[in-house]
């Protein structure tokens, strides 16, 4: 009896599957102007990281809307898949293949060498000997962090501010250096507490470090520590001090306590490189650096709400009240410094302030 039942169930589910399978095959209408196809391999962490991957994805969505390209993305389950995924895109003759994150650099180099006729772009790694069919997109994080440091020094009342880094190495030293120089530019005597968490994904550690800094009198803390930074925000809420976000607009994560976020505009740069492929102006063999001057880095608006913040309400991530908290904070805390920060930004763009890149020069002891 039960055997019969099982076999009926199995057959039935087969029929269901076969019947529904047809629905899946509805081809998407292709009303796009351009027939450029872009393939992107995201770094592990994938979409929803509120940072790099999401930002790159946003850039491609914009390119899809404005330039009419098509794109496909892959979220590798682990680093061993990077090379295979990049290679599959190249084999299928995508017009542009993008790799995200410095861990993928070796894989991209291997694949790009095998497919010289395919164009590649890599986000966040600098190749010494770059191949002719690769461009890299790098960011002057030290310039953006300079603004964050200046803002922190302007907002701080105690004269002590903090910095929490993810892992102690060259790329992250750029953030530290910019922040340090920015704060010192405003106030020569300011005390800057600096600690590394040795981990990009340990919020508990981030919280402990930030609480310790708050104990030592810090009232603004900047982080360049990925997921560890969430702990810094928690500590800021507990201790009622301020924090500064990084990479993407994180202001809504702790509404009212994050005075600004240093932005790496991966979306803009990805869009630009796609546009260059559509226009036919793509030129390989270049390490591109995006700075304040070309909107590659920057900080979130100090005196009005940003689109990401209002979007967060629409998506139900924060409530109207929390948005109001952000607005109030901006009005009371950061808006008075808007002009000063803009002035500094202009000076950096004009070259009047030269921000040292600690990623290249090393940390002065």
């Amino acid at each position: 009896m039960s055997k019969k039942l099982i076999s009926i169930a199995v057959v039935f589910s087969f029929i269901m599957v076969a019947a529904f399978a047809g629905f899946g095959q509805v081809a998407e209408a292709d009303d796009h102007g351009s027939d450029v196809r872009v393939g992107i391999v995201l770094s592990t962490g994938g979409l929803g990281d509120l940072s790099f991957n999401d930002s790159a994805y946003r850039g491609l969505v914009r390119a899809e809307d404005e330039l009419g390209i098509d794109f496909d993305y892959i979220e590798p389950a682990d680093t061993a898949e990077d090379e295979t995924a990049l290679r599959r895109f190249a084999e299928m003759n995508y017009d542009l293949v993008i790799g995200v994150g410095f861990q993928m650099a070796d894989s991209l180099e291997i694949v790009a060498a095998d497919y010289p006729h395919i164009r590649f772009a890599h986000v966040d790694h600098f190749f010494e000997d770059i191949l002719d069919n690769v461009v890299t997109l790098n960011f002057a994080e030290h310039e953006g962090s300079f603004l964050a440091g200046a803002l922190a020094a302007l907002v701080s009342e105690t004269g002590t501010i903090g910095y929490v880094g993810g892992v102690d190495f060259a790329l992250i030293h750029r953030f530290e250096g910019g922040y340090y120089q920015g704060a010192k530019y405003i106030d020569e005597d300011i005390e800057i507490l600096r600690r590394y968490a040795d981990d990009f994904g340990d919020p508990a550690r981030g919280r402990e470090i930030a609480l310790g800094m708050a104990d030592d009198g810090a009232d603004v803390i900047y982080h360049a520590a990925g997921g560890t930074g969430t702990g810094v925000f928690e500590a800021a809420e507990e201790e009622e001090i301020y924090a500064i976000g990084v990479d993407a607009n994180q202001n809504h994560v702790a509404p009212g306590r994050i005075i600004a976020s240093m932005l790496k505009r991966v979306d803009n740069t990805v869009f630009d490189v796609v546009e260059s492929v559509v226009d036919g102006t793509y030129e390989g063999g270049e390490n591109l650096f995006y700075s304040l001057a070309d909107d590659g880095v920057g900080i979130t608006s100090l005196d009005e709400l940003d689109v990401e913040e209002t979007d967060a309400v629409d998506q139900g991530i924060i409530t109207e009240e929390q948005l109001e908290m952000i607005r109030e904070m901006k009005e009371n805390i950061t808006a008075p410094h808007t002009e000063r920060i803009q002035e500094i930004e202009q000076m950096i763009i004009d070259g009047e302030i030269e921000v040292e890149n600690w990623g290249e020069t090393g940390r002065p002891e």
């Binding site: 599957v17 399978a21 899946g24 979220e75 680093t79 295979t84 650099a105 070796d106």
Partner: protein, 367 residues
């Protein structure tokens, strides 16, 4: 003998049956994403077995899983639960990579074995510590292995990489050519293997299999021999089945525990060695990819038998390799993970169902 073959056939057909059920259930999830299950499964098959390169890459993906599966299975036979394969893998991979780039100018026939054995020894020590603590001090091996996992991560990924790092990548410098495990891809140009007829079939780009797969298979066979054909193996199994009885029978339990855990650590270490010297050519943050934990599932699906572990490893490897291709067919990575989990779930749970059937049959016969 005939009974044995029959039992194996029943086991295999149950596994195949459960995979089919898992795929049917999985198709409901695929339908949710408005992709076609038929296309998705065709992609899964294509990605894992569709052509010569896909098959070889499936073997490549299976390699670390077979080894960590063995690393869990061997102590399991001796009554120990090794959750530390992850840490042992990290220690092995890190040590091999450091030997691989630090020593320059060594000839390949010294450098490669040095790096491989060094990595296995490091993993073996990392596994031997909990074995020793269990045997001499009675500390539970689960606690010790978990703690050693954390220590291994801090020691290698956090401290170790930072100490040796040269570029922005979170990785140790690239290893010397003399320490690299031979890739099948490179065989056609190899002075020895290049002369073998038809070796050119390995020349196409994108084949990532390296000889660690062969080492994994040899390791599985050696494990089988050790467990079922030697005195030490007999003693281990006896300890696992009934420690008090074994001790009463004159078997040194503590010796067996330390030995089982040391071998287990060396096997997990070899998994890390293969990833470092064969796949990534450096020790890289994230390269462990949870293989040590997946190894637990591999071992259990393989019923902690070395040959079963090979099959379990191949199953997980093909799901990983084919899963990537499913993403190219438009299935989101989350659904790919759900389908992989469903296959594991059904394979594991139907084995329990089979045990229940066997029991009922025995009961009926008794009546």
């Amino acid at each position: 003998m005939q009974d044995k073959l029959k039992a194996i056939a029943v086991n295999l057909s149950i596994s195949v049956f459960s995979i089919i059920i898992a795929l049917i259930v999985g198709s409901l999830f695929i339908l949710l994403t408005e992709a076609s299950p038929i296309d998705a499964y065709a992609a899964l098959y294509q990605g894992a077995f569709g052509n010569f390169r896909a098959i070889l890459n499936t073997l490549w993906r299976s390699t670390p899983l077979i080894l960590t599966g063995l690393a869990v299975a061997i102590p399991f036979k001796a009554g120990l639960f090794n959750i530390g394969a992850e840490g042992q893998l990290l220690m092995g991979g890190f040590t091999a990579a450091v030997i691989g780039f630090y020593f320059t100018g060594l000839p390949g026939f010294i450098h490669l074995p040095f790096a491989v054995l060094g990595g296995m020894l490091a993993g073996g020590i990392w596994g031997g510590i909990p074995g020793y603590m269990k045997a001499k001090l009675g500390v539970h091996e689960v606690i010790v292995t978990i703690m050693l996992n954390y220590i291994a991560i801090s020691l290698t990924v956090n401290y170790g990489i930072n100490y040796f790092r040269e570029t922005g990548r979170q990785a140790t410098p690239r290893i010397m050519e003399t320490a690299a495990l031979l890739r099948f891809n490179d065989m056609p140009d190899h002075p020895f293997w290049g002369r073998v007829p038809f070796i050119d079939i390995f020349a196409q780009p994108g084949i990532r299999l390296h000889i660690n797969f062969l080492l994994a298979v040899v390791a599985a066979i050696l494990c089988w021999y050790l467990l079922f054909k030697t005195t030490a193996g007999y003693e281990m199994r006896a300890t696992g089945l009934n420690p008090d009885g074994a001790e009463y029978g004159g078997i040194s339990i503590s010796k067996g525990m330390v030995l089982a855990m040391f071998i287990s650590g060396a096997l997990a270490g070899l998994a890390g060695v293969g990833e470092a010297l064969g796949t990534h050519l450096s020790f890289m943050a994230g390269m462990d990819a949870g293989h040590g934990f997946t190894g637990i599932a591999v071992a259990l699906i393989g019923q902690t038998h070395p040959i079963g572990v090979i099959l379990g490893g191949l199953l997980f490897g093909s799901l990983a390799q084919g899963g990537l291709e499913m993403q190219f067919a438009g299935v989101p990575s989350e659904i790919v993970m759900i389908i992989q989990a469903l296959v594991i779930f059904f394979v594991a749970s139907l084995q329990i169902f089979k045990k229940y059937m066997v029991k009922r049959k025995a009961k009926e016969e008794a009546e």
